[in-house]
Protein backbone atom coordinates (compact mmCIF):
# COMPACT_ATOMS: atom_id res chain seq x y z
CA UNK A 1 0.00 0.00 0.00
CA UNK A 2 2.16 2.80 -1.22
CA UNK A 3 -0.57 5.42 -1.13
CA UNK A 4 -1.44 4.63 2.47
CA UNK A 5 2.13 5.40 3.52
CA UNK A 6 1.84 8.83 1.89
CA UNK A 7 -1.62 9.59 3.19
CA UNK A 8 -0.59 8.87 6.76
CA UNK A 9 2.00 11.62 6.36
CA UNK A 10 -0.79 13.91 5.17
CA UNK A 11 -2.88 13.00 8.20
CA UNK A 12 -0.01 13.67 10.62
CA UNK A 13 0.51 17.03 8.91
CA UNK A 14 -3.13 17.99 9.42
CA UNK A 15 -3.03 17.07 13.11
CA UNK A 16 0.18 19.04 13.55
CA UNK A 17 -1.33 22.13 11.93
CA UNK A 18 -4.52 21.96 13.95
CA UNK A 19 -2.54 22.21 17.18
CA UNK A 20 -1.74 25.81 16.42
CA UNK A 21 -5.15 27.22 17.20
CA UNK A 22 -4.21 30.87 17.42
CA UNK A 23 -2.21 30.80 14.24
CA UNK A 24 -5.20 29.30 12.42
CA UNK A 25 -7.25 32.26 13.56
CA UNK A 26 -4.52 34.66 12.53
CA UNK A 27 -4.23 33.06 9.12
CA UNK A 28 -7.95 33.35 8.47
CA UNK A 29 -8.29 36.92 9.78
CA UNK A 30 -4.99 38.11 8.35
CA UNK A 31 -5.94 36.81 4.97
CA UNK A 32 -9.28 38.64 5.03
CA UNK A 33 -7.59 41.85 6.10
CA UNK A 34 -5.12 41.46 3.30
CA UNK A 35 -7.94 40.96 0.81
CA UNK A 36 -9.55 44.18 1.91
CA UNK A 37 -6.36 46.10 1.44
CA UNK A 38 -5.86 44.74 -2.04
CA UNK A 39 -9.48 45.60 -2.82
CA UNK A 40 -9.10 49.25 -1.85
CA UNK A 41 -5.75 49.63 -3.49
CA UNK A 42 -6.96 48.43 -6.87
CA UNK A 43 -10.23 50.22 -6.59
CA UNK A 44 -8.29 53.44 -6.20
CA UNK A 45 -5.97 52.51 -9.03
CA UNK A 46 -8.85 51.84 -11.39
CA UNK A 47 -10.72 54.94 -10.21
CA UNK A 48 -7.77 57.16 -11.13
CA UNK A 49 -7.33 55.52 -14.54
CA UNK A 50 -10.66 56.86 -15.81
CA UNK A 51 -11.50 53.73 -17.82
CA UNK A 52 -13.13 50.49 -16.78
CA UNK A 53 -11.01 48.12 -18.78
CA UNK A 54 -7.22 48.22 -18.73
CA UNK A 55 -5.31 45.75 -20.91
CA UNK A 56 -8.45 43.70 -21.33
CA UNK A 57 -8.96 43.34 -17.59
CA UNK A 58 -11.77 44.93 -15.61
CA UNK A 59 -11.48 45.86 -11.95
CA UNK A 60 -13.23 42.61 -10.95
CA UNK A 61 -10.91 40.57 -13.16
CA UNK A 62 -7.83 42.16 -11.67
CA UNK A 63 -9.14 41.80 -8.14
CA UNK A 64 -10.06 38.15 -8.57
CA UNK A 65 -6.77 37.48 -10.29
CA UNK A 66 -4.57 39.09 -7.65
CA UNK A 67 -6.51 37.92 -4.63
CA UNK A 68 -6.60 34.35 -5.81
CA UNK A 69 -2.94 34.56 -6.81
CA UNK A 70 -2.16 35.48 -3.20
CA UNK A 71 -4.38 32.70 -1.93
CA UNK A 72 -2.64 30.27 -4.27
CA UNK A 73 0.70 31.54 -3.09
CA UNK A 74 -0.20 30.96 0.56
CA UNK A 75 -1.48 27.60 -0.42
CA UNK A 76 1.57 26.54 -2.42
CA UNK A 77 4.38 28.08 -0.39
CA UNK A 78 5.97 25.05 1.22
CA UNK A 79 9.19 26.64 2.49
CA UNK A 80 10.92 23.77 0.73
CA UNK A 81 14.09 25.74 0.17
CA UNK A 82 14.37 26.61 3.85
CA UNK A 83 13.65 23.09 4.98
CA UNK A 84 16.14 21.56 2.59
CA UNK A 85 18.74 24.21 3.28
CA UNK A 86 18.51 23.74 7.04
CA UNK A 87 18.55 20.01 6.85
CA UNK A 88 21.56 20.07 4.53
CA UNK A 89 23.45 22.45 6.76
CA UNK A 90 22.70 20.65 10.00
CA UNK A 91 23.48 17.30 8.42
CA UNK A 92 19.97 16.04 9.19
CA UNK A 93 19.65 15.29 5.48
CA UNK A 94 21.48 12.06 6.21
CA UNK A 95 18.51 10.96 8.33
CA UNK A 96 16.17 11.72 5.44
CA UNK A 97 18.31 9.68 3.10
CA UNK A 98 17.95 6.55 5.21
CA UNK A 99 14.17 6.77 5.40
CA UNK A 100 12.36 4.12 3.35
CA UNK A 101 11.03 6.76 0.96
CA UNK A 102 12.83 9.04 -1.40
CA UNK A 103 13.51 12.47 0.17
CA UNK A 104 11.62 14.20 -2.61
CA UNK A 105 8.36 12.41 -1.89
CA UNK A 106 8.93 12.44 1.83
CA UNK A 107 9.30 16.21 1.94
CA UNK A 108 6.32 16.72 -0.32
CA UNK A 109 3.97 14.43 1.56
CA UNK A 110 5.06 15.64 4.96
CA UNK A 111 3.90 19.03 3.87
CA UNK A 112 0.74 17.83 2.14
CA UNK A 113 -1.27 18.08 5.37
CA UNK A 114 -0.78 21.82 5.13
CA UNK A 115 -2.37 21.77 1.68
CA UNK A 116 -5.55 20.39 3.17
CA UNK A 117 -5.57 22.79 6.13
CA UNK A 118 -4.64 25.78 3.98
CA UNK A 119 -7.28 24.93 1.45
CA UNK A 120 -10.00 25.16 4.09
CA UNK A 121 -8.51 28.02 6.08
CA UNK A 122 -7.38 30.37 3.31
CA UNK A 123 -8.23 29.38 -0.22
CA UNK A 124 -11.89 28.45 0.23
CA UNK A 125 -12.86 31.48 2.37
CA UNK A 126 -11.00 33.75 -0.02
CA UNK A 127 -12.75 32.24 -2.99
CA UNK A 128 -16.18 32.63 -1.38
CA UNK A 129 -15.52 36.22 -0.33
CA UNK A 130 -14.31 37.10 -3.80
CA UNK A 131 -17.38 35.52 -5.41
CA UNK A 132 -19.64 37.57 -3.16
CA UNK A 133 -17.73 40.84 -3.43
CA UNK A 134 -17.55 40.74 -7.22
CA UNK A 135 -21.24 39.82 -7.54
CA UNK A 136 -20.72 36.65 -9.51
CA UNK A 137 -17.89 37.87 -11.72
CA UNK A 138 -16.28 34.48 -11.16
CA UNK A 139 -17.80 32.14 -13.72
CA UNK A 140 -18.90 28.89 -12.08
CA UNK A 141 -18.88 26.26 -14.82
CA UNK A 142 -16.57 23.76 -16.43
CA UNK A 143 -13.78 26.31 -15.95
CA UNK A 144 -13.67 25.20 -12.28
CA UNK A 145 -12.72 21.69 -13.37
CA UNK A 146 -9.96 23.01 -15.63
CA UNK A 147 -8.82 25.20 -12.80
CA UNK A 148 -8.48 22.28 -10.38
CA UNK A 149 -6.48 20.24 -12.89
CA UNK A 150 -4.34 23.26 -13.60
CA UNK A 151 -3.70 23.95 -9.90
CA UNK A 152 -2.56 20.39 -9.33
CA UNK A 153 -0.02 20.76 -12.11
CA UNK A 154 0.95 24.21 -10.81
CA UNK A 155 1.69 22.68 -7.41
CA UNK A 156 3.91 20.11 -9.05
CA UNK A 157 5.81 22.64 -11.15
CA UNK A 158 6.22 24.87 -8.15
CA UNK A 159 7.49 22.00 -6.05
CA UNK A 160 9.92 20.88 -8.75
CA UNK A 161 11.36 24.37 -8.98
CA UNK A 162 11.55 24.61 -5.18
CA UNK A 163 13.28 21.28 -4.96
CA UNK A 164 15.75 22.34 -7.63
CA UNK A 165 16.55 25.55 -5.80
CA UNK A 166 16.69 23.70 -2.46
CA UNK A 167 19.29 21.39 -3.96
CA UNK A 168 21.53 24.40 -4.63
CA UNK A 169 21.88 24.65 -0.84
CA UNK A 170 24.20 21.65 -1.04
CA UNK A 171 26.69 24.00 -2.68
CA UNK A 172 26.24 27.16 -0.64
CA UNK A 173 25.40 28.24 2.89
CA UNK A 174 23.35 31.19 1.77
CA UNK A 175 19.81 29.86 2.17
CA UNK A 176 18.36 33.33 2.58
CA UNK A 177 19.94 34.65 -0.60
CA UNK A 178 19.03 31.62 -2.69
CA UNK A 179 15.46 31.57 -1.43
CA UNK A 180 14.81 35.27 -1.89
CA UNK A 181 16.11 35.18 -5.44
CA UNK A 182 13.85 32.25 -6.26
CA UNK A 183 10.86 33.86 -4.60
CA UNK A 184 11.32 37.20 -6.33
CA UNK A 185 11.81 35.67 -9.75
CA UNK A 186 8.93 33.22 -9.45
CA UNK A 187 6.49 35.79 -8.08
CA UNK A 188 7.27 38.40 -10.69
CA UNK A 189 7.52 36.20 -13.75
CA UNK A 190 4.59 34.00 -12.83
CA UNK A 191 2.25 36.97 -12.71
CA UNK A 192 1.58 36.62 -9.00
CA UNK A 193 2.33 40.25 -8.10
CA UNK A 194 0.97 41.85 -11.26
CA UNK A 195 -1.12 40.12 -13.93
CA UNK A 196 0.95 39.17 -16.95
CA UNK A 197 -1.65 40.94 -19.12
CA UNK A 198 -0.25 44.23 -17.79
CA UNK A 199 3.32 43.42 -18.83
CA UNK A 200 4.66 45.45 -21.74
CA UNK A 201 6.13 43.71 -24.76
CA UNK A 202 8.57 42.03 -25.16
CA UNK A 203 8.37 41.15 -21.46
CA UNK A 204 5.02 39.53 -21.92
CA UNK A 205 6.17 37.23 -24.71
CA UNK A 206 9.29 36.24 -22.82
CA UNK A 207 7.32 35.14 -19.75
CA UNK A 208 5.19 32.92 -21.96
CA UNK A 209 8.27 30.86 -22.80
CA UNK A 210 9.23 30.38 -19.14
CA UNK A 211 7.85 27.78 -16.73
CA UNK A 212 6.84 30.33 -14.10
CA UNK A 213 3.66 31.57 -15.77
CA UNK A 214 2.35 28.00 -15.57
CA UNK A 215 2.24 28.36 -11.79
CA UNK A 216 -0.08 31.35 -11.33
CA UNK A 217 -1.04 32.79 -14.67
CA UNK A 218 -2.23 29.51 -16.19
CA UNK A 219 -4.73 28.37 -13.54
CA UNK A 220 -6.05 31.89 -13.00
CA UNK A 221 -6.53 32.51 -16.70
CA UNK A 222 -8.52 29.28 -16.90
CA UNK A 223 -10.60 30.26 -13.90
CA UNK A 224 -11.47 33.74 -15.15
CA UNK A 225 -12.71 32.63 -18.53
CA UNK A 226 -16.29 31.27 -18.33
CA UNK A 227 -16.65 30.21 -21.96
CA UNK A 228 -13.19 29.36 -23.21
CA UNK A 229 -12.22 27.95 -26.58
CA UNK A 230 -11.32 24.31 -26.14
CA UNK A 231 -8.15 24.91 -28.13
CA UNK A 232 -7.02 27.55 -25.57
CA UNK A 233 -7.73 25.26 -22.64
CA UNK A 234 -5.88 22.46 -24.38
CA UNK A 235 -2.90 24.67 -25.16
CA UNK A 236 -2.59 25.93 -21.58
CA UNK A 237 -2.93 22.51 -20.00
CA UNK A 238 -0.54 20.85 -22.44
CA UNK A 239 2.02 23.59 -21.84
CA UNK A 240 1.67 23.09 -18.11
CA UNK A 241 2.03 19.35 -18.47
CA UNK A 242 5.14 19.79 -20.57
CA UNK A 243 6.65 22.04 -17.91
CA UNK A 244 5.72 19.48 -15.25
CA UNK A 245 7.75 16.85 -17.04
CA UNK A 246 10.67 19.13 -17.89
CA UNK A 247 11.03 20.57 -14.38
CA UNK A 248 10.65 17.11 -12.86
CA UNK A 249 13.41 15.65 -15.00
CA UNK A 250 15.76 18.57 -14.42
CA UNK A 251 15.25 18.76 -10.67
CA UNK A 252 15.63 14.99 -10.35
CA UNK A 253 18.82 14.92 -12.36
CA UNK A 254 20.27 17.85 -10.47
CA UNK A 255 19.44 16.20 -7.14
CA UNK A 256 20.99 12.92 -8.24
CA UNK A 257 24.20 14.59 -9.31
CA UNK A 258 24.36 16.80 -6.23
CA UNK A 259 23.67 13.95 -3.86
CA UNK A 260 27.03 12.46 -4.79
CA UNK A 261 28.57 15.48 -3.14
CA UNK A 262 26.90 14.57 0.13
CA UNK A 263 27.55 10.86 -0.03
CA UNK A 264 31.13 11.35 -1.13
CA UNK A 265 32.06 14.19 1.18
CA UNK A 266 30.01 12.94 4.09
CA UNK A 267 27.78 16.02 4.22
Amino acid sequence: MKLKKYLSLTRAGIIEQLQFRMSMLVIVLGNLLYLTVVYFLWKAIYASSGTDVVNGMTFSDTLIYLVLATALFNFMEMYTVWQMGRSIQSGAIILDLIKPMNPRSYLFWTYSGNFVVNFFSTFLPTFIVVCIVTHGAVPLGTNLAYFVVSVVMAIMINYNIDFFVGTICIYTESIWGINIMKQVIVLLLSGATIPIAFFPEPFKSITMYLPFQSIYNAPLTLLLNGSPEMSDVGRILVTQFAWCVVTLVISRLFWKVSLKRITVNGG
Binding site: R11, I14, I15, L18, Q19, R21, M24
Partner: protein
Amino acid sequence: MAPIIELKNVTKEFKVLNRREGLKGSLRDLFSRDYKTVRAVDNISMSIEQGEIIGYLGPNGAGKSTTIKMMTGVLEPTSGEITVDGTVPYYNRAKNAQKIGVVFGQRSQLWWALPLVESFKLLKDIYMIEDKPYKDMLALYQSLVDIEPLLHKTVRQMSLGQRTLSDILAAFLHDPKIVFLDEPTIGLDVSMKSKIRTLIHALNKEKNTTVILTTHDMGDVDALCRRIAIIDKGKMLYDNDIEHLKGFFGSYRTLKIRTDGDHKIQAEAIRAELPDFSVSADDEWISVLVDEDRQKVIDVLGQLQKSYDIRDMQLNEISTEEVIRKIYEEGVQ
Protein backbone atom coordinates in the same frame (compact mmCIF):
# COMPACT_ATOMS: atom_id res chain seq x y z
CA MET B 1 27.44 33.02 58.01
CA ALA B 2 24.11 33.32 56.19
CA PRO B 3 23.54 30.78 53.44
CA ILE B 4 24.18 32.10 49.93
CA ILE B 5 21.05 30.45 48.55
CA GLU B 6 17.91 29.82 50.52
CA LEU B 7 14.72 28.15 49.29
CA LYS B 8 11.69 28.14 51.56
CA ASN B 9 8.68 25.97 50.69
CA VAL B 10 9.06 26.65 47.00
CA THR B 11 6.32 25.36 44.71
CA LYS B 12 5.95 25.86 40.98
CA GLU B 13 2.90 24.90 38.99
CA PHE B 14 2.33 24.92 35.24
CA LYS B 15 -0.84 24.76 33.24
CA VAL B 16 -0.60 22.25 30.43
CA LEU B 17 -2.96 21.36 27.66
CA ASN B 18 -4.49 17.91 27.56
CA ARG B 19 -4.41 17.03 23.91
CA ARG B 20 -6.96 14.68 22.44
CA GLU B 21 -5.99 11.88 20.15
CA GLY B 22 -6.41 11.49 16.40
CA LEU B 23 -7.74 13.67 13.65
CA LYS B 24 -11.14 14.12 15.28
CA GLY B 25 -9.52 14.94 18.60
CA SER B 26 -7.37 17.62 16.98
CA LEU B 27 -10.45 19.15 15.41
CA ARG B 28 -12.19 19.19 18.79
CA ASP B 29 -9.11 20.73 20.41
CA LEU B 30 -9.44 23.55 17.94
CA PHE B 31 -12.68 24.64 19.56
CA SER B 32 -12.58 23.50 23.17
CA ARG B 33 -9.54 23.00 25.32
CA ASP B 34 -8.88 21.07 28.44
CA TYR B 35 -6.12 22.24 30.75
CA LYS B 36 -4.64 20.59 33.80
CA THR B 37 -2.26 21.85 36.43
CA VAL B 38 1.07 20.11 36.88
CA ARG B 39 3.16 20.69 39.95
CA ALA B 40 6.74 20.66 38.69
CA VAL B 41 8.28 21.63 42.02
CA ASP B 42 6.47 20.72 45.20
CA ASN B 43 7.26 22.45 48.48
CA ILE B 44 11.04 22.36 48.33
CA SER B 45 13.27 23.92 50.96
CA MET B 46 17.03 23.94 51.11
CA SER B 47 19.89 26.18 52.02
CA ILE B 48 23.30 26.25 50.43
CA GLU B 49 26.49 27.69 51.88
CA GLN B 50 29.10 29.72 50.03
CA GLY B 51 31.74 27.50 48.47
CA GLU B 52 29.74 24.27 48.46
CA ILE B 53 29.49 22.03 45.43
CA ILE B 54 26.09 20.45 45.55
CA GLY B 55 24.89 17.72 43.22
CA TYR B 56 21.28 18.26 42.33
CA LEU B 57 19.99 14.94 41.07
CA GLY B 58 16.79 13.40 39.85
CA PRO B 59 15.36 11.46 36.94
CA ASN B 60 14.31 13.27 33.77
CA GLY B 61 11.38 15.58 34.34
CA ALA B 62 11.83 15.57 38.11
CA GLY B 63 11.84 19.37 38.36
CA LYS B 64 15.57 20.07 38.43
CA SER B 65 15.61 22.56 35.59
CA THR B 66 12.56 24.33 36.94
CA THR B 67 14.27 24.80 40.30
CA ILE B 68 17.39 26.13 38.62
CA LYS B 69 15.36 28.50 36.47
CA MET B 70 13.78 29.88 39.64
CA MET B 71 17.14 30.32 41.34
CA THR B 72 18.51 32.13 38.30
CA GLY B 73 15.55 34.51 38.23
CA VAL B 74 14.08 33.30 34.98
CA LEU B 75 11.00 31.79 36.61
CA GLU B 76 8.92 33.01 39.47
CA PRO B 77 7.70 30.39 41.97
CA THR B 78 3.96 29.92 42.39
CA SER B 79 4.47 30.04 46.14
CA GLY B 80 7.40 30.09 48.56
CA GLU B 81 10.48 32.25 48.69
CA ILE B 82 13.94 32.19 47.22
CA THR B 83 16.84 34.42 48.14
CA VAL B 84 20.17 34.36 46.36
CA ASP B 85 22.89 36.30 48.13
CA GLY B 86 20.30 38.45 49.85
CA THR B 87 18.21 39.33 46.80
CA VAL B 88 15.12 37.74 45.32
CA PRO B 89 16.28 36.55 41.89
CA TYR B 90 13.00 36.80 39.94
CA TYR B 91 12.40 40.39 41.02
CA ASN B 92 15.96 41.46 40.23
CA ARG B 93 16.91 39.31 37.28
CA ALA B 94 19.67 41.57 35.96
CA LYS B 95 21.16 42.22 39.38
CA ASN B 96 21.09 38.52 40.16
CA ALA B 97 22.65 37.71 36.78
CA GLN B 98 25.68 39.78 37.73
CA LYS B 99 26.35 37.43 40.64
CA ILE B 100 25.82 34.11 38.94
CA GLY B 101 27.14 32.13 36.02
CA VAL B 102 25.09 29.57 34.14
CA VAL B 103 25.95 26.73 31.79
CA PHE B 104 22.95 25.01 30.31
CA GLY B 105 24.04 21.65 28.90
CA GLN B 106 24.49 21.74 25.19
CA ARG B 107 23.08 25.22 24.65
CA SER B 108 26.04 27.45 24.18
CA GLN B 109 25.58 31.00 25.38
CA LEU B 110 28.59 32.29 23.54
CA TRP B 111 28.53 34.12 20.25
CA TRP B 112 28.73 31.44 17.58
CA ALA B 113 30.60 33.37 14.98
CA LEU B 114 33.12 34.99 17.30
CA PRO B 115 36.52 33.70 18.34
CA LEU B 116 36.41 32.79 22.03
CA VAL B 117 38.71 35.62 23.05
CA GLU B 118 36.32 38.16 21.49
CA SER B 119 33.41 36.58 23.36
CA PHE B 120 35.44 36.96 26.54
CA LYS B 121 36.12 40.62 25.78
CA LEU B 122 32.42 41.23 25.26
CA LEU B 123 31.62 39.49 28.52
CA LYS B 124 34.26 41.63 30.19
CA ASP B 125 32.31 44.69 29.08
CA ILE B 126 28.88 43.27 29.81
CA TYR B 127 29.81 42.21 33.33
CA MET B 128 31.99 45.30 33.76
CA ILE B 129 35.04 43.30 34.82
CA GLU B 130 38.07 45.42 35.64
CA ASP B 131 41.30 44.84 33.69
CA LYS B 132 43.24 43.36 36.58
CA PRO B 133 40.81 40.64 37.67
CA TYR B 134 40.15 39.83 34.01
CA LYS B 135 43.82 39.27 33.30
CA ASP B 136 44.23 37.29 36.49
CA MET B 137 41.31 35.11 35.57
CA LEU B 138 42.72 34.39 32.12
CA ALA B 139 46.06 33.56 33.69
CA LEU B 140 44.33 31.22 36.10
CA TYR B 141 42.52 29.55 33.18
CA GLN B 142 45.77 29.17 31.33
CA SER B 143 47.32 27.47 34.35
CA LEU B 144 44.40 25.04 34.64
CA VAL B 145 43.73 24.15 31.01
CA ASP B 146 45.54 25.01 27.83
CA ILE B 147 43.17 27.69 26.56
CA GLU B 148 45.57 29.30 24.10
CA PRO B 149 44.50 27.19 21.09
CA LEU B 150 40.82 27.70 21.96
CA LEU B 151 40.96 31.47 22.20
CA HIS B 152 41.23 32.06 18.50
CA LYS B 153 38.69 29.48 17.42
CA THR B 154 35.06 30.45 16.87
CA VAL B 155 32.50 28.54 18.89
CA ARG B 156 31.07 27.26 15.61
CA GLN B 157 34.34 25.49 14.82
CA MET B 158 34.72 23.87 18.22
CA SER B 159 34.00 20.28 19.16
CA LEU B 160 31.27 19.70 21.72
CA GLY B 161 33.87 19.21 24.44
CA GLN B 162 35.72 22.41 23.61
CA ARG B 163 32.45 24.28 23.48
CA THR B 164 31.38 23.04 26.90
CA LEU B 165 34.79 23.91 28.27
CA SER B 166 34.51 27.40 26.81
CA ASP B 167 31.04 27.84 28.23
CA ILE B 168 32.23 26.86 31.68
CA LEU B 169 35.17 29.26 31.48
CA ALA B 170 32.81 31.99 30.33
CA ALA B 171 30.48 31.29 33.25
CA PHE B 172 33.30 31.74 35.76
CA LEU B 173 34.85 34.75 34.01
CA HIS B 174 33.26 37.48 36.10
CA ASP B 175 34.08 35.61 39.30
CA PRO B 176 30.44 34.99 40.21
CA LYS B 177 29.48 33.85 43.68
CA ILE B 178 27.42 30.99 42.29
CA VAL B 179 27.69 28.93 39.14
CA PHE B 180 24.86 26.72 37.89
CA LEU B 181 25.95 23.82 35.74
CA ASP B 182 23.20 21.87 34.06
CA GLU B 183 24.55 18.55 32.79
CA PRO B 184 27.96 19.94 31.88
CA THR B 185 29.47 16.60 30.86
CA ILE B 186 26.59 15.29 28.77
CA GLY B 187 27.73 13.67 25.54
CA LEU B 188 31.44 14.10 26.22
CA ASP B 189 34.19 11.51 25.97
CA VAL B 190 35.92 10.12 29.03
CA SER B 191 39.02 12.29 28.88
CA MET B 192 37.03 15.49 28.31
CA LYS B 193 34.75 14.61 31.22
CA SER B 194 37.68 14.24 33.53
CA LYS B 195 39.26 17.46 32.25
CA ILE B 196 36.06 19.35 32.95
CA ARG B 197 35.63 17.85 36.40
CA THR B 198 39.18 18.82 37.32
CA LEU B 199 38.55 22.33 36.06
CA ILE B 200 35.34 22.79 38.04
CA HIS B 201 36.97 21.41 41.15
CA ALA B 202 39.97 23.72 40.80
CA LEU B 203 37.85 26.83 40.16
CA ASN B 204 35.69 26.03 43.16
CA LYS B 205 38.76 25.68 45.38
CA GLU B 206 40.51 28.74 43.97
CA LYS B 207 37.59 31.17 43.98
CA ASN B 208 35.37 29.59 46.65
CA THR B 209 32.55 29.63 44.11
CA THR B 210 29.35 27.88 45.04
CA VAL B 211 28.51 25.31 42.38
CA ILE B 212 25.07 23.82 41.78
CA LEU B 213 25.49 20.85 39.52
CA THR B 214 22.76 18.80 37.91
CA THR B 215 23.83 15.65 36.17
CA HIS B 216 22.92 12.10 35.31
CA ASP B 217 26.55 11.05 35.42
CA MET B 218 27.50 9.75 38.85
CA GLY B 219 31.14 10.14 37.85
CA ASP B 220 30.55 13.90 38.14
CA VAL B 221 29.06 13.44 41.58
CA ASP B 222 31.86 11.21 42.83
CA ALA B 223 34.50 13.58 41.52
CA LEU B 224 32.96 16.83 42.75
CA CYS B 225 30.15 16.68 45.30
CA ARG B 226 30.08 15.91 48.95
CA ARG B 227 26.50 16.89 49.33
CA ILE B 228 23.65 15.81 47.10
CA ALA B 229 20.01 16.74 46.85
CA ILE B 230 17.69 14.32 45.12
CA ILE B 231 14.36 15.43 43.73
CA ASP B 232 11.69 13.32 42.08
CA LYS B 233 8.23 14.29 40.83
CA GLY B 234 8.87 17.74 42.26
CA LYS B 235 9.48 16.53 45.81
CA MET B 236 12.76 16.54 47.68
CA LEU B 237 13.70 12.96 48.48
CA TYR B 238 17.06 13.49 50.09
CA ASP B 239 19.38 16.35 50.93
CA ASN B 240 22.59 15.50 52.77
CA ASP B 241 26.10 14.07 52.40
CA ILE B 242 26.63 11.22 50.00
CA GLU B 243 28.47 9.25 52.67
CA HIS B 244 25.46 9.54 54.90
CA LEU B 245 23.28 8.23 52.13
CA LYS B 246 25.58 5.35 51.46
CA GLY B 247 25.27 4.59 55.18
CA PHE B 248 21.66 3.66 54.59
CA PHE B 249 22.89 1.01 52.25
CA GLY B 250 25.71 -0.18 54.51
CA SER B 251 24.68 -3.80 54.16
CA TYR B 252 24.87 -3.68 50.37
CA ARG B 253 27.79 -5.04 48.40
CA THR B 254 28.33 -5.11 44.67
CA LEU B 255 29.45 -8.49 43.50
CA LYS B 256 31.00 -8.39 40.07
CA ILE B 257 31.76 -11.52 38.12
CA ARG B 258 33.20 -12.17 34.71
CA THR B 259 32.24 -15.29 32.79
CA ASP B 260 32.80 -16.68 29.32
CA GLY B 261 29.48 -16.51 27.45
CA ASP B 262 27.31 -13.52 26.65
CA HIS B 263 26.93 -11.29 29.72
CA LYS B 264 23.56 -9.89 28.68
CA ILE B 265 21.95 -13.31 28.30
CA GLN B 266 23.49 -14.64 31.49
CA ALA B 267 22.38 -11.55 33.42
CA GLU B 268 18.81 -12.36 32.37
CA ALA B 269 19.15 -15.85 33.78
CA ILE B 270 20.75 -14.62 37.02
CA ARG B 271 17.99 -12.06 37.43
CA ALA B 272 15.45 -14.88 37.32
CA GLU B 273 17.49 -16.89 39.78
CA LEU B 274 17.98 -14.01 42.27
CA PRO B 275 14.77 -12.00 42.15
CA ASP B 276 15.63 -10.07 45.34
CA PHE B 277 18.70 -8.35 43.91
CA SER B 278 19.24 -6.04 40.99
CA VAL B 279 21.49 -7.40 38.28
CA SER B 280 23.16 -5.47 35.50
CA ALA B 281 25.67 -6.35 32.84
CA ASP B 282 28.21 -4.70 30.58
CA ASP B 283 30.98 -6.11 28.42
CA GLU B 284 33.34 -6.38 31.36
CA TRP B 285 31.27 -7.45 34.33
CA ILE B 286 27.96 -8.86 35.46
CA SER B 287 27.11 -6.92 38.65
CA VAL B 288 24.81 -8.17 41.38
CA LEU B 289 23.81 -5.78 44.15
CA VAL B 290 23.57 -8.01 47.21
CA ASP B 291 21.90 -7.02 50.46
CA GLU B 292 23.91 -8.89 53.10
CA ASP B 293 21.03 -8.71 55.54
CA ARG B 294 19.12 -11.03 53.26
CA GLN B 295 21.78 -13.31 51.93
CA LYS B 296 25.52 -13.46 52.43
CA VAL B 297 27.63 -12.55 49.41
CA ILE B 298 29.57 -15.74 49.81
CA ASP B 299 26.35 -17.76 49.47
CA VAL B 300 25.34 -15.89 46.35
CA LEU B 301 28.76 -16.52 44.89
CA GLY B 302 28.49 -20.21 45.75
CA GLN B 303 25.12 -20.39 44.08
CA LEU B 304 26.37 -18.69 40.93
CA GLN B 305 29.44 -20.86 40.76
CA LYS B 306 27.27 -23.92 40.31
CA SER B 307 25.75 -22.68 37.06
CA TYR B 308 28.45 -20.40 35.62
CA ASP B 309 32.09 -20.62 34.87
CA ILE B 310 33.44 -17.63 36.78
CA ARG B 311 36.77 -16.31 35.40
CA ASP B 312 37.24 -13.34 37.64
CA MET B 313 35.42 -11.53 40.41
CA GLN B 314 35.37 -8.31 42.46
CA LEU B 315 33.59 -7.27 45.62
CA ASN B 316 32.87 -3.54 46.07
CA GLU B 317 31.02 -1.17 48.34
CA ILE B 318 27.79 0.08 46.85
CA SER B 319 28.55 2.70 44.18
CA THR B 320 26.91 6.12 44.01
CA GLU B 321 25.31 5.08 40.76
CA GLU B 322 23.62 2.13 42.48
CA VAL B 323 22.55 4.19 45.48
CA ILE B 324 20.90 6.73 43.24
CA ARG B 325 19.27 4.10 41.10
CA LYS B 326 17.84 2.44 44.23
CA ILE B 327 16.48 5.77 45.38
CA TYR B 328 14.91 6.56 42.01
CA GLU B 329 13.33 3.12 42.00
CA GLU B 330 12.34 2.69 45.63
CA GLY B 331 12.67 6.05 47.37
CA VAL B 332 14.31 6.65 50.77
CA GLN B 333 12.84 4.76 53.69
